[in-house]
């Protein structure tokens, strides 16, 4: 046990002796959060729209206004022909186009008019958002026209829609995309940070030649592994604190649930992730190999965990592969605590596999480490 503390002390000395690396280690995760939060999956708003109003009437201008007022679109260009409209979409300057036909004003007297709406489908997420928004705007406009017509008709009947769906959002009531993104981003950043920090822990000593000196001492493998992991748990906790502070004060994504529970589960997650780094370090012969293995785990972390894409839509192989990553469970936990404010009993299905992973990884790193030079 005392040897574990000795290793920890030594690791801390290494960390302190290299202030530039320490600065990067502390600053980069916060910087990534700041940067990525503005980049990854923000709410889709202000889609650049090109309009060709061939009708040029009071009625068509009123119809166009509905698009700006919705907030989903911004008027990027106004042109006179369908050709010009398509050109702007081709060049990527506009992502959607609205063509109001010449006879559009007739809608006010009860005649139907087909309004073509063009969408750049190359980005499906943006296209879907634009489609949904345009559809809704069109329906509301049509409804308003109908209501007006009925009101003006001599029959004067009371109009009521037969089915009226009322939405009630249980969590994240403002539907802020950021509230969903940030917990995932925090999880991914921590996972990457943990792997990078420890992946060189053992192999660096191997390259320096100090590992040989270390294995002729009576140290036990678990003392060495834990001594290597724990200092970085502390370092990463500084990261967690900073990241959560930025999330709640800058991005206004506060932790809805128990902060204590969040920190305890984060510690368990980090033991596993840092342990995985040490395991990588154990099986690598050079620091280059270790870095490459650590970097290779980045893509699965981002994609299979459900951070970038909902796992429900994945092929079953990818879906179940996600369960092999502790970050998948941690992501659920983070979203659960930060967004929904749920407790440990609700999160239990995610907690135990994550904890199991941490234990297995630690045991594996101890078993894989041999006090021999071969």
């Amino acid at each position: 046990m005392s040897r574990m503390w000795t290793i920890m002390r030594k690791e801390f000395l290494h960390i302190i002796r290299d202030p530039r690396t320490l600065g990067l280690v502390v600053a980069l995760p916060v910087l990534s959060l700041l940067l990525l939060s503005y980049a990854v999956a923000r709410d889709i708003k202000n889609i650049p729209l090109v309009v060709a109003d061939l009708s040029k009437t009071e009625v068509s201008r009123h119809f166009m206004d509905r698009y700006w007022l919705s907030g989903f679109f911004r008027m990027a260009y106004e042109v006179d022909s369908e050709t010009a409209l398509l050109q702007l979409i081709d060049s990527g300057k506009a992502k959607a186009g609205l063509l109001i036909p010449e006879d559009f004003h007739k809608v006010s007297v009860g005649e139907a008019s087909a309004v073509p709406f063009y969408i750049d489908g190359s980005d499906p997420a943006l296209a879907q958002a634009a489609q949904l928004a345009a559809e809704t705007i069109g329906q509301v406009a049509a409804q308003d026209v109908l209501v007006e017509q009925l009101n003006n008709s001599p029959l004067r009947i009371e109009l009521r829609l037969p089915v009226d769906t009322r939405f009630r959002f249980l969590y994240n009531p403002d539907m802020r995309r950021l509230n969903f993104t940030i917990p995932g981003l925090v999880a991914s950043i921590l996972q990457i940070q943990a792997l990078l920090l420890t992946s060189s822990a053992i192999v660096r000593e191997r390259e320096q030649g100090t590992l040989e000196q270390l294995i002729v001492t009576p140290i036990k493998p678990w003392e060495l592994m834990l001594g290597k992991i724990l200092p970085f748990v502390l370092v990463t906790f500084v990261n967690v604190g900073l990241i959560l502070a930025v999330a709640s004060f800058w991005f206004r994504v506060p932790v809805a649930g128990s902060l204590t529970l969040l920190l305890i589960l984060t510690a368990i997650f980090l033991l596993g992730s840092l342990g995985l780094g040490v395991l990588i370090s154990n099986i690598s012969r050079t620091q280059m190999q270790a870095m490459y293995l650590a970097a290779f785990s980045l893509m699965p972390t981002l994609i299979l965990s459900g951070f970038l894409y909902p796992r429900e839509n994945m092929h079953w192989i990818a879906y179940y592969a996600g369960y092999l990553l502790p970050v998948t469970f941690y992501l659920d936990i983070m979203r659960g605590i930060i967004l929904k404010g749920v407790g440990a009993s609700t999160l239990w299905p995610s907690i135990w596999p994550m904890a199991l992973f941490s234990v297995v990884v630690f045991v594996a790193s101890v078993l894989v480490f041999h006090k021999r030079v071969e």
Binding site: S2, Q213, P218, I219, R372, E374
Partner: protein, 319 residues
């Protein structure tokens, strides 16, 4: 039987795939003696040391260190030995005292006596006043003495030194060996590898390794006396040509250049005389020719030669 010996090695063999790094090596180190393992790079010295330290598994054979078996009790051995690896494995970003303190704690030197022990080691290594120096900034000789201090922080009765003086100046080498003698005087047994013959002369026992085999094992004087025949030292104007001629001369057992001097091993004085005549007849001006006492280098060269000849005769191809 092994109780009087700090190290007992019996038919120790290590193979890496098809390559035999150490082949059936046997020797013993009596307690308190300095054993020098001599031989060129790749002879199997480091592999032997690593097996004795319990960090490399022997392929076959047996070895005990302080009566503990290297295969079955490596962790018990590690508690009682000091090991200095070739590279002086110190943490460069730590200070002198931090390195020492780290190993003191790794070997669980009791907290009560720790600081007194560290002071003692700083004194011994001549590092007093440099406790706070970064290890990276130390010269080779200082790093070497610090590495030794780290290796003996727990007062091990057995010390393994793998080329402890490589890359260190001659004066520092002598100082280092004085420390080793002092330790041996306190009853510490030492196994050191070296390529320096002058260092080897100072050891109580010498084992010469070549191609993974132990080709000679005895104290330095016996080894030198055991060299068959007479050793002639020849000083002449064309040592290179003289060596080539001598090597081919009938009766000559061994001819080797030592700088500008030619050492020729002959069975008796008669062969020496006829060689002298032959060299003069070939136009070589001989300035001096005399019988000298063999050095360990002569013994080593002769042993390697004998070994190779024996193996060729036995039809074993060299790796």
């Amino acid at each position: 039987m092994s109780h009087g010996n700090a190290v007992q090695v019996d038919q120790l063999t290590k193979k890496f795939g098809g390559f035999t790094a150490v082949h059936q090596v046997s020797f013993a180190i009596p307690t308190g003696e300095i054993f020098g393992l001599l031989g060129p790079n790749g002879a199997g010295k480091t592999t032997t040391i690593r097996m004795l330290c319990g960090i490399l598994l022997p392929t076959s054979g047996r070895a005990t260190v302080l009566s503990l078996d290297v295969t079955r009790q490596p962790e018990a051995i590690k508690q009682s030995i000091g090991y200095m690896s070739q590279k002086f494995a110190l943490y460069n970003d730590l200070t002198v005292i931090e390195n020492l303190d780290f190993y003191a704690r790794m070997y669980q030197v009791p907290a009560k006596s720790r600081s007194a022990r560290l002071d003692e080691l700083l004194e011994m290594a001549g590092l007093v006043g440099h406790e706070k120096d970064k290890t990276a900034n130390l010269s080779g000789a200082w790093r070497q003495r610090l590495a030794l201090a780290c290796a003996i922080v727990h007062r091990p009765p057995m010390l393994f030194l793998d080329e402890p003086t490589a890359g260190v100046d001659p004066i520092s080498r002598r100082e280092f060996w004085n420390m080793i003698y002092a330790l041996a005087g306190q009853g510490v047994s030492v196994l050191a590898t070296t390529h320096y013959m002058d260092e080897a002369e100072q050891c109580n026992i010498i084992g010469m390794m070549h191609d993974g085999r132990l080709i000679a094992l005895d104290d330095p004087d016996t080894l030198k006396a055991g060299l068959a025949g007479d050793l002639l030292e020849i000083e002449c104007d064309a040592p290179g040509r003289a060596e080539a001629l001598a090597a081919e001369f009938p009766g000559v057992m061994e001819a080797a250049l030592h700088g500008v001097l030619l050492h020729v091993n002959v069975p008796d004085a008669q062969v020496g005389l006829s060689l002298e005549t032959a060299l003069t007849r070939a136009g070589i001006v001989i300035r001096r020719i005399e019988q000298v006492l063999p050095s360990l280098e002569d013994v080593f060269v002769a042993m390697v030669e004998t070994q190779d000849r024996a193996r060729v005769r036995a039809g074993i191809a060299k790796e």
